[in-house]
């Protein structure tokens, strides 16, 4: 029985094959049939793979291009603005009247408006959002949470124009019953509505962070005879603090960046005041106001919206970095 050695295709491929191959067959026999080289990923396919990978990388890196685009455009237009308006003037002038004949370029009134609206919104959203999160995570039965959470998240899906409508035509008249001197446009109702709008940002993220707190911490607390309240406030909340802090930061960014509600319900006059019962313009409302008119491209008035936008960007950036630092500081290790 003549012995024919077939090598497995696998052996043909690597460097192992020659070593494992049996000694040359006697000359009388015909040479071994050579099996066709198994087609692994061929050269063409390897190129294809590489091209696809490069394409996917470009898509991922485009997010950096977007950031560069934002920073570039804001910076570029703001530089031409600050060539004509000194920075000191921009920061200290108490008036913002860039479109009047007697033009003043002080950002303070817009920053004050933005801060006031955001403060009202956060005064509502942070406590309510946090307590909601604690309730949903520690108290509510499973079924209640499953129903309430998506329902609360619907609050973020409501178009902001609709919120503006609600603030101007429902909340303000309602508040007027309590505060008869309230003007038709005011920062209070705009801030309150924004506050309700950002509750789910705060509560959902905080709740996720609280649910991530390991069960044994709660068990230990209950084992020592603590009540639910004590466990929630002294164990779960501190343990989830880093996640809760990032929820707060996100809520803050939303509150100062919100546009349509303030443009509709807070009035559009720059007003250097921290009194929420007054009408005032925020940075975002000013940008909307200018965009609705038609300013010629390249004029100083056109550049003001970029300077205002840059200020807004920097405000969110400062808070994001602050939040990042806080998060690192409070990160609990269990």
């Amino acid at each position: 029985m003549s012995q024919k050695t077939y090598s497995f295709p696998l052996k043909n491929r690597g460097s192992l094959a020659p070593r494992l191959a049996p000694s040359p067959a006697p000359k009388t026999e015909s040479p071994l049939p050579t099996l066709p080289r198994r087609k692994g990923p061929g050269r063409l396919q390897r190129w294809r793979e590489r091209a696809i990978q490069a394409g996917l990388f470009v898509a991922a890196a485009s997010s950096i291009a977007i950031t560069l685009g934002i920073v570039g455009i804001l910076g570029f237009e703001s530089i031409s603005f600050f060539r004509q308006v000194p920075l000191l003037n921009f920061l200290t002038d108490p008036q913002w009247t860039p479109l009047f004949d007697d033009a003043h370029y002080g950002i303070m009134p817009l920053v004050a408006g933005t801060a006031t609206v955001a403060a009202v919104a956060l005064c509502l959203a942070l406590p309510v959002g946090t307590v909601t999160a604690l309730y949903l995570s520690e108290y509510a039965p499973h079924r209640v949470r499953e129903i309430v959470k998506p329902f609360l998240e619907l609050l973020t899906a409501v178009p902001t124009v609709v919120y503006g409508y609600f603030a101007l035509l429902f909340v303000t008249p309602l508040l007027k019953h309590l505060i008869p001197s309230l003007p038709g446009f005011n920062m209070l109702s705009a801030g309150l509505v924004i506050g309700v709008m950002i509750i789910p940002y705060v509560s959902s993220l905080s709740e996720d962070a609280m649910r991530a707190v390991p069960m044994h911490l709660r068990e230990a607390s209950y084992a020592m005879g603590a009540t639910r309240f004590q466990t929630s406030v002294r164990v779960v909340f501190p343990a989830a603090l880093s996640g809760v802090a990032s929820a707060y930061v996100l809520g803050f960014s939303r509150a100062i960046g919100e546009t349509m509600v303030v443009a509709i319900a807070a009035g559009m006059q720059p007003n250097l005041t921290f009194n929420p019962l007054q009408p005032a313009a925020t940075i975002t409302a000013y940008i909307v106001q200018v965009s609705l008119g038609d300013l010629p491209h390249g004029s100083l008035g056109y550049q003001t919206i970029f300077a205002a936008g840059l200020t807004l960007m920097l405000m969110t950036l400062v808070f994001n970095i602050g939040g990042h630092v806080l998060r690192k500081r409070f990160r609990e290790k269990y």
């Binding site: 996917l56 899906a157 902001t160 009540t227 639910r228």
Partner: protein
């Protein structure tokens, strides 16, 4: 005396239990704040808007006369802008998500991209509008068109799509990957035949959530010059003569529902406010329907696939 101590202890425990009850009630009330406001908002909108909501309202162009004004150009505009948005955001977002989950090496570049995407999600939407005004409208000369609007909103929802894609891919167990590689699949074959089909549900959910956010977004569109009075429709994409498909509609000026509603709210006349409420109802119906669809899809896919 032990009796007194016991009494004090009982009192203390009762007090703590009371605190617990009070806080439980407080929590329920806090939860209801959001729920009740949402209900109040919907009822208020329906109260004002139902009287105007009829077929004539849906099929008429805006007008100086509130009783004749309608939202035809606005909802058609919303439709075409959303089409462009989806066309731009979905391939880019999914590709970025796939890259970050399946391909990306662990290095500073990847970390930079990840941090950057998280930061982009927190950038105020009006800043995107300013960027689009400077870049798309004046640098690339795309004009104040449907194309510009669609691209701007696509950039806005890109982080949402990327995060949803990553989230969906992350739930696929690595045994699937190992099995595919074991039979000699290349990386792309794995992605194409396994990763993408299995994560399709999650991706679709994210895309719909993103689009429902884009539908209600008006601030960035105001900065790039969405007009509030458009009494015509964009050019038809189908033509009678040779290439049969025309891209003229991409360049046409447009308006969208939220901007039409904003315009009506800003007017002093009461009757325009009713129109705004009706337009708001249409908008709400669209976003709620999309969110409902997203929840349904998530539910179905979760039920169908068992690892």
């Amino acid at each position: 005396m032990p009796g007194e101590i016991l009494m004090a202890l009982r009192k203390d425990i009762a007090r703590r239990k009371r605190t617990d009850k009070v806080f439980s009630l407080l929590g329920l009330m806090a939860t209801l704040v959001g729920v009740v406001t949402l209900l109040a908002l919907m009822i208020d909108l329906a109260w004002d808007g139902t009287s105007r909501l009829n077929w004539a309202f849906l099929s008429a162009f805006p007008s100086r006369f509130p009783e004749k004004a309608g939202i035809l150009s606005a909802w058609v505009g919303t439709g075409v802008v959303m089409f462009v948005t989806a066309l731009a955001a979905v391939p880019m977002g999914v590709a970025a998500g796939v890259y970050l989950e399946e391909y990306a090496p662990k290095n500073w570049m990847t970390t930079l991209i990840e941090i950057n995407i998280a930061n982009l999600a927190g950038v105020p939407s009006i800043v995107y509008g300013l960027m689009a005004l400077g870049l798309f409208v004046y640098k690339f000369k795309l004009g104040m068109s449907v194309l510009t609007a669609g691209l701007t909103l696509a950039l806005l929802i890109l982080p949402i799509v990327i995060m949803a894609t990553r989230e969906a891919i992350r739930t696929i167990p690595s045994s699937i990957r190992e099995a595919a590689f074991a039979v000699g699949a290349t990386q792309w074959q794995l992605v194409r035949h396994h990763i993408l089909p299995y994560s399709a549900g999650g991706i679709l959910t994210g895309v719909i959530i993103g689009l429902s956010r884009a539908i209600g977004e008006s601030a960035p569109l105001i900065t790039i010059g969405a007009l509030t009075f458009i009494a015509f429709l964009p050019a038809s994409p189908f033509t009678g003569t040779f290439p049969f498909i025309s891209f003229e509609w991409l360049k046409s000026p447009y308006t969208v529902l939220p901007i039409q509603a904003f315009n009506w709210i800003s007017r002093p006349q009461k009757s325009f406010h009713l129109n705004a409420a009706a337009a708001g109802m249409v908008l709400m119906a669209m976003t709620l329907a999309m969110n409902g669809a997203a929840i349904w899809i998530r539910y179905r896919f979760r039920k169908r696939i068992k690892w």
